[in-house]
Structures are given as C-alpha cells and as structure tokens.
Amino acid sequence: MFDYIFLVPLIPLVGFLFNGLLIGRVPRPLISFVGCISVGLSFLLSVFLFFSLKSLPPEARFIEQVLFSWIPAGSLHVDIAFLLDPLSTVMILVVSGVSFLIHVYSVGYMHDDPGYGRYFSFLNLFTFSMLTLVLANNFVLMFVGWEGVGLCSYLLIGFWFEKKSASDAGKKAFIVNRIGDFGFLLGMFLIFWQVGSLHFETVMKAAPTVFMAGGGLITAACLLLFVGAIGKSAQIPLYVWLPDAMEGPTPVSALIHAATMVTAGVYMIARTNALYVMAPDALMVVAIVGAVTALFAATIGLAQNDIKRVLAYSTVSQLGYMFLACGVTAFTAGIFHLMTHAFFKALLFLGAGSVIHAMSAEQDMRKMGGLKKYLPITYPTMLIATLAITGIPGLSGFFSKDEILWKSFSSLNGHPLLWVIGFVTAGLTAFYMFRLIYLTFHGRERMDDKTKHHLHESPRTMTVPLILLAVFSVIGGWIGMPHIFGVVNYFEHWLEPVMAHGAGAAEGPMLAAGGGDTGTEVLLMVVSVVLVLVAIFAARYYYLKNTQAATSLSEKLSGVHQLLLNKYYVDEIYGAVIVRPVVYGSIFLWKVVDVVIIDGFANGMATIIRDISELLKNIQTGQVRKYATIFVVGVVILIAYFTFG
C-alpha cells in the first residue's frame, strides 16, 4: 500500500494534463468526470493510506517514498520524495476530500461558463500542487508545491481575465505571495547553510546540535520561513491579496482561499515545529502576528457589505487563530482548527455561492434578505457552518477554537493578553457572521422583482456537497475533544509523534509544566460561550429586530464606520508608499536609463562610428598624385625614424 503514496498527487496531475491538453475537443460531461474522478481517486487512496498507517504502531508511523533523485549537486541532494506521517495524512485527507466536494459543486456552479475545461484543468493542477506541498519530505519539493499553488491561485483568481479587476486581483495575489516567498527562500538558504541538507528529517534531527537554542541564526531562519507563511496565509502585512481574490469564481474561493492554499503556511510551521521550539522569540512573533491579524481582520469584517468579502476577512481572522496556536506551541490545536475551518469555511463559501447563484450574481447583502424560504437547503447548511465558526458548543469549531484559546492562556509560551485578543475576536466573529445570516436570509426582502422571480435553490450537484460539509462541520470536532470532558483527545494523540518527532517532546513537557488547572479551563470556556451568545443577540437586535438602530449607530460612529468599511485604507497606503514609488522608479529607469542612457549609448556609438567614417572617407579622393604624395611623406618619415630614431 505504501508504494502508492506517489499516486496521491499524481492522479490529479494526470487529470490536469487530460483536461488541459484536450481543451475544446472533449465534451463537458467528460471534463467533469475526469476532473472529479481524479481527485476522488486521490481521496480514496488517502483514506486507504490513513488506515494502513493507523495499523502501524505509533513510533513506526513514518514512511518515506523516494521516487528519484532530482538534484544531486555536490553537498545539495534533493529527491522527489514523499513523506507519509500522521500530519501529512491529516492534510491529504482534508485537501483531497474538500477538493473533491468542491469539484462536484463546480460542475453545477460553472455550468454555463465558456472556460469550463480550463477551469477544471486549473483546479486539478491546484490539487496536485497542494498535495505535493503537504507530502513533500524536503523543503525544496515543498517549495515547488508552494509555488504551484501560488500559480494556480493566480490563474484561478484571474479566471475571468477579461474583467480588469479580476486580472488585477490575480496579479496582486501573485506579487504579494512572491514577497513572502522571498523570505521563505532566504530561510531555506539559511537552514541549508547551517545544516547542509534540506531534508526535513535530517534538519529536524540535526537542529539541536547545529543551532544554538534561542540563538540568532535559528530565530532568523524561523522568522524568514514565517515571512513566507505570512504571504501565503494572508497575515499582516501581506493579507491584502485575499479580499481582492474574491474576484475569482466562488468555488475557487472556497477551495483555495478557505480550505487549502492559505493553510499551507500553518502546515509549514507545524511541519518544522522542531525548529520553532528552539526559537522562542520567533514563536512570540508568530503568536502576536496571528492574534493581531485575527482581531484586525474581524473588525474590518464588521462593516463589509459584499457577502464574499465578509467571508474573506473572516478567513484572514481564522488563519490568525491558527498562527496564534502555533505561536504558543499548540501546533496540534492549530492543525485541528485548520481541519475544522476547512469544513465550515468551505461550506460558508459554497453556500454563499449558492446564494449568489440564486440572486443572479448579486453579492451585496444590502440587496438581499428573507432568502430563508427560497433556499431550503442552503440556509440550514449555512446556519450550521455559522454556528460552527462562532464556536457554539458541540460543533467542530467550538472544540478547535476553544483549544486554541485555552492554550494561548495556559501554555508556557502563552500569555493572558493573547487570550484576551482571541476572546474579543471570537465575539466579533460571532457578531459579523450572524449579521451576515440575518441580512441575507432573514428580514425584509430587499431585492428587486426581476431578481426575485429568479430565486431558486441550487441543483443537486451543488447542494449535496453542502450537506456533506455540514455533517463534517458538526461531527468533525468530536475527534479532538479536550480531556476535561473525560474522553481521549484522539486528534492530539494521533499527531503526537510528529510534534515530538525529532527534537524530543516539544509540546509535551511544556504543556505539562505550564498547564493550568481544569477549573480555569472550564471557566474560560464558559466565558467565551457567553460572549458569543451576547454577540449573537446583539446582531439579532441590530439586523433583524430594529434595523433603524443599526443605521443610526453607523451614522453616530460614522468615522469609525468609514474606516472599517474602507479596510483602514491599507490598500491605499500600500499604493502610495510602496507601489507608487516603485512605478515611478520603473518609469525613471525606462525613460531615463533605458531610452536616454542605454539606447543613447548604443545609438551614439553607431553615430560616432558613422561620423568618423564620414570624416575618414575623404582620404580616398581618387587622385593618384595625392596618394603618391602621401607615399613619399611616409617614406620620409620612415627613413627619418630608422636613421635618427
């Protein structure tokens, strides 16, 4: 069974080639079939691999499959090789599973689109890249997958490239990602320079001996890698591409910008946890960035009117939670939240897609309302997802978010202030998510009659994935329930070998040493649930019962409201401070350096040579006597030189 690890990423690659090379020559049903089946097979294989791995004892759950040696260059040795361990198993299950559901959904959603074949080939390519990223056993192959998902993100965000805003958004995503990738590369170089290898296992084992714990080099390496994560996972300051990425088709937003690609940064940190635990300063930075981003994005989400934008900022905020978890060495909690978030966020986006589909492509929530009765499947599933994200007890989001909040308070690397930020953000999350629900599905119907006539529930191919994701949003958390409920935390247990792997129990002792007592944990849990309920009722008041109060409040605090609505003008600031100087710089380089200096030099050379030629040609007068005179002059000079010189 373990010989087939490489097929997990390979089958979607075949799907990409099939759909990509045969664009226009293959009928739609075949395109959808190949596209979905390739990911479906990948998922099935992942399930088999999971059970095979589970049958091994925990210490042995670590399989590497080397396909071939890719770069044998002196001391640098990189293979195309895959690593199957508990962490990567979780990732491939999530990625292939959610990807499969989204492929099926897309069959319905992209039904009328002329670029159907192109869409599915890109989606398959993305799945291949993401699977490569999570299965890689060395930094370089992971970086290949990293870049691959970035590329597919660009291709899919700018899918409707004739629309300028879409192609601009694609470019923005790619360029901002690249800035992060630069940091990632520098981190890789640093590690290779010190350790001499880029193979995960080798690096993790060698790290304690090569690096001084807490020293400058390891901190620098971890921070640089984190810069890459900031870019890919949309944290401050490189988050600006994610809201714009909503220009792409909604299933793309669900897959790439909710469930999988943006989580690559979190995965990367979890994978290299042995390095991070050696650099507490880096961990602190990660935690702070995560927490601040979570809060910051949540505040922006409060004021947005586009349904997809709210979800985009929500994603940024939830990713902040995951980084907060990693920053307090609760890597398991971070991955747990990654998984649950994949379920409910994908569901939220797909549900939003269903709403948009019903509303004939309208995305402004102010023009919606009362859709509850028109969308009998979309509404309940979205409600379940909202309940999950806000952390209502019993659903998956509760368990994962709660664990993060607890660990940020209690872990040795944690701090009560971090907990406070997380706590407040949870309240805000509940508020803006229920604002979304109330504005969209409840209350007065604010759409025009033409749109109202078109309102219809989505076809089966779109609603079935919604239902499945809703089920997972509910039960997905039950494998990670905390100890205090008297059950085993299966998830944490499963991932334990990876987190302890290499550097010696990184999380265990810290948790044991810094863990607070059960009473505090329950207290904090109760407090956050209370806050969430308060927020839900507040949202209900402002957006359902007394909408006048909402408008008057926004007028009273109009300054704040404008600030939030315009996302703190961050894009404008970036534009003025970074983009404009760069553009001016390029214009200068073009107009002055290229045209005047370089072209001038090249043309000038030619002109000079021509002018010299014009001057010299006058020597050839054709008059023999003049030539003869010059002969004699030359003879005289020569004789003089030889006799007197």
Binding site: K617, N618, Q620, T621, G622, Q623, R625, A628
Partner: protein, 100 residues
C-alpha cells in the same frame, strides 16, 4: 679622384627630381618618365656601390632592374593607351573615379 659618395649624391638628386616630377606633373606620360628616371637613379647608385665594394653583383642587379623597367614600361604604356581611348585625355586628375 672623385669619391664614390659624389656619385651617390648625384643619384639622390636625380631621385629627388624624379619624385618632384611624379608628384607635380599632370601629364600621365611625364609621370611615367619620371618614374623611369627614379629607376635609373637607383641604377646609378647600384653601379657606384658595386665599384666601391669591388664586386660585380651590383651590375647584375642593374641588369635585372633594367629588364623589369622595360617590361613595366610596355604594360604601363598599353594601359595609358587604353585609358586614352576611353577618356580622350592624359590629365591624371581626370582619372579619379575611384573615390568614395
């Protein structure tokens, strides 16, 4: 007793006159004759050296130079005839087409 150098100086003077003739004359035929004069000046110098060093190699050299001068005169004059046929002129300044 006339020193050999006297002959050599004479040869130099004749050579110089020949050079002046080549450079200043506009008549093609006169230029040609001036060249012949320069050749002859060289011959005179050779004979003088031959006498001065008491060897006969100089004489042989002159013999050969003479022959070459004859051949050259023949071909050169043929060319002049040809040019004259086309140009109706023996002014060397008229033959300056090969300019830039």
């Amino acid at each position: 007793m006339i020193p050999i150098s006297a002959y050599l100086i004479l040869a130099a003077v004749l050579f110089g006159i020949g050079t002046v003739g080549v450079l200043t004359s506009r008549n093609v035929i006169v230029i040609f004759m001036a060249i012949e004069l320069m050749l002859n000046a060289a011959n005179l110098a050779l004979i003088a050296f031959s006498r001065g060093l008491n060897v006969l190699d100089g004489h042989v050299f002159v013999f050969l130079v003479l022959t070459v001068a004859a051949a050259e005169a023949a071909v050169g004059l043929a060319l002049i005839v040809l040019i004259f046929r086309n140009r109706e002129s023996i002014n060397i300044d008229r033959f300056s087409i090969m300019k830039w």
